[in-house]
């Protein structure tokens, strides 16, 4: 770890990727993540890496497929409409078991929407916007330091389980500046070898292929079962969350990403009013930490979800709570960022019922 420096979120993630040994980046401009693409355009040539602006997001994800299949640590970043266009390719990568890191700096939607921070892509990112039975590990940072750490972690998770991984950021996370400490860079040549599966040329071995295809459903089902096994492993090993002031809770907030940190302020305000509030902040959205949330839900009557969406993570919260507590919701839509004050007010309204 070096000294702290102030960086923008987009650049923090970009630099983290480079330190994680990523040397191949494809991307296409879209607000509010274009600075990340621009950062990579500057940095990659400096570290002997590859930067290529693709002709579209559809091309981008397929370039990722290609680079990943020959063994590269590869990343892209985009924002909501661009992520929609990547869905087919992501489904292909998931089935072909190709690692890769996707950063989605979510903005207000649907459609062209606007360019303000949002979490309205939860379903798309977390449940799977592409076709078929696959899941993607998703990490939602709430500070730039955490974004740095999760970005590096994402590459490791991607390689370990051979799966695409998503960093769920938002316009706020992308645009804000905060002091960050970067870890020492990893020398890409020291990364674990992918020679056991990557397409490196059939030298001294049989030809092999990377594919998402089998015409025989029974064989394809077997490929799927390997995926399902992998997801079980991921669910076992990769859950991450933060608890904030949950020791003595009467009411529990659930919020992820930047909303998570805004809710922390709301928790403090609530405690000033004598309400014993706490926060459960899922960091891995898939695998969602159902079990821990379920345990916490036992202790309270109200589990209040706050999102910058109409209530998408809310479904996962309810799956965890299973009727053991009330599960009200407060959300702002389309790029409007909730403030601590209005969140507190929403809670008060619930308490008054």
């Amino acid at each position: 770890m070096g000294e702290k420096i102030m960086v923008k979120g987009t650049e923090a993630i970009g630099e983290a990727a480079i330190r994680a040994g990523c040397r191949v980046y494809f991307g296409y401009p879209i607000t509010p993540q274009s600075e990340l693409t621009e950062y990579m355009a500057r940095r990659m040539p400096q570290v002997g890496g590859v930067f290529l602006q693709a002709e579209s997001e559809v091309a981008t994800v397929n370039m990722m497929y290609g680079a990943s299949s020959v063994g590269a640590r590869v990343m892209t970043s985009t924002s909501s409409p661009g992520f929609s266009l990547m869905q087919e390719g992501i489904s292909y990568m998931a089935c072909a078991r190709l690692p890769g890191v996707f950063v989605d700096v979510v903005r207000g939607g649907p459609g062209l929407g606007d360019i303000q921070p949002s979490q309205g892509d939860y379903f798309q990112i977390v449940k799977g916007g592409g076709h078929g039975d696959y899941r993607l590990p998703v990490f939602s940072p709430s500070s730039l330091q955490e974004a740095v750490e999760l970005t590096i972690h994402a590459f490791d998770v991607a390689d370990k389980y051979r799966t695409p991984v998503v960093i769920f950021a938002d316009g706020m996370m992308g645009q804000m500046m905060e002091p960050v400490e970067f870890p020492d860079p990893i020398d890409p040549s020291t990364l674990p070898s992918k020679d056991d599966w990557a397409l490196t040329g059939a030298k001294g071995r049989k030809a092999r292929y990377v594919t998402s295809f089998d015409i025989d459903p029974y064989k394809l089902e077997k490929m799927n079962l390997v995926l399902q096994e992998t997801y079980k492993e991921i669910e076992k090993n990769e859950q991450k969350w933060e608890e904030f002031m949950t020791d003595d809770i009467e009411v529990l907030f659930v919020a992820h990403g930047t909303v998570g940190r805004i809710v922390k302020s709301a928790v403090k305000l609530a405690r000033q009013k004598g309400i014993k509030a706490g926060l459960f902040r899922p960091i891995s959205l898939y695998p969602f930490p159902y079990k821990r949330l379920s345990e916490l839900a036992e202790k309270v009557d109200i589990v209040m979800t706050v999102e910058m969406s109409s209530g998408q993570m809310l479904e996962d919260v309810r799956l965890a709570v299973e009727g053991k507590a009330e599960t009200p919701f407060y959300g702002r839509l389309a790029g409007v960022v909730p403030t601590p004050g209005e969140i507190l007010e929403a809670l008060m309204k619930e308490l008054r019922r």
């Binding site: 607000t31 940190r261 403090k268």
Partner: protein, 183 residues
């Protein structure tokens, strides 16, 4: 615990973003917890711009602020928008070169800075944001001027280094103005 929740607002091009970044950077230099959050404009040019800076002794929870306790206002639309939000007993730093109307709040500290004139006298209108910055740190005591200078030095390297002195001068002028008004 003291938490400075600052919003700086003006037209694009008036340097409010840099204003805020320097406060944040100086805060970091002093070992405080800081965040800087721009309201990034439309994918279009022009329009207004503002940023929110939080400087705190504890980790910053929300980088979004609904009730700032300090605002630095560079144009009229921003005054109209942010004055009502300011906390009681908050601080308002006003660029009077751009704003020919009076704030309405009576419960706040107001510093009036003819920033453009001052900067113009220093030979570069662009430095008006630094005049505002000087006035702001003098009144809000968020960070010391030394830290701000360090932040500026870190920022203005290469070709930009030539503007370092005039910017420091502008900050000092701003501080002077604030000092005078604070009496």
């Amino acid at each position: 615990m003291m938490e400075h929740k600052l919003i700086a607002a003006g037209f694009g091009g008036q340097g409010v973003m840099l204003f805020g970044q320097m406060v944040a950077q100086a805060g970091m230099i002093e070992g405080k917890h800081v965040t800087w959050l721009p309201s990034y404009g439309p994918e279009m040019r022009g329009g207004t711009a503002n940023c929110t800076v939080v400087v705190s002794d504890e980790p910053v929870a929300s980088p979004v602020v609904d009730k700032p306790n300090e605002i630095a206002i560079f144009n009229i639309p921003s005054l109209l928008k942010f004055e009502p939000m300011l906390e009681e007993n908050g601080i308002l730093v006003l660029n009077t070169s751009m704003i020919d109307r009076e704030p309405t709040r009576k419960d706040i500290t107001i510093i009036r800075v003819p920033a453009n004139e001052v900067a113009d006298k220093l030979g570069t209108l662009k430095a008006q944001n630094m005049v505002m910055l000087g006035a702001y740190i003098e009144v809000a005591k968020t960070v010391s001027v030394e830290s701000v200078f360090k932040a500026l030095e870190a920022k203005m390297t290469g070709k930009k280094a030539q503007f370092l002195d005039v910017n420091k001068k502008a900050i000092e002028e701003g501080m002077k103005i604030a000092r005078q008004q604070l009496g």
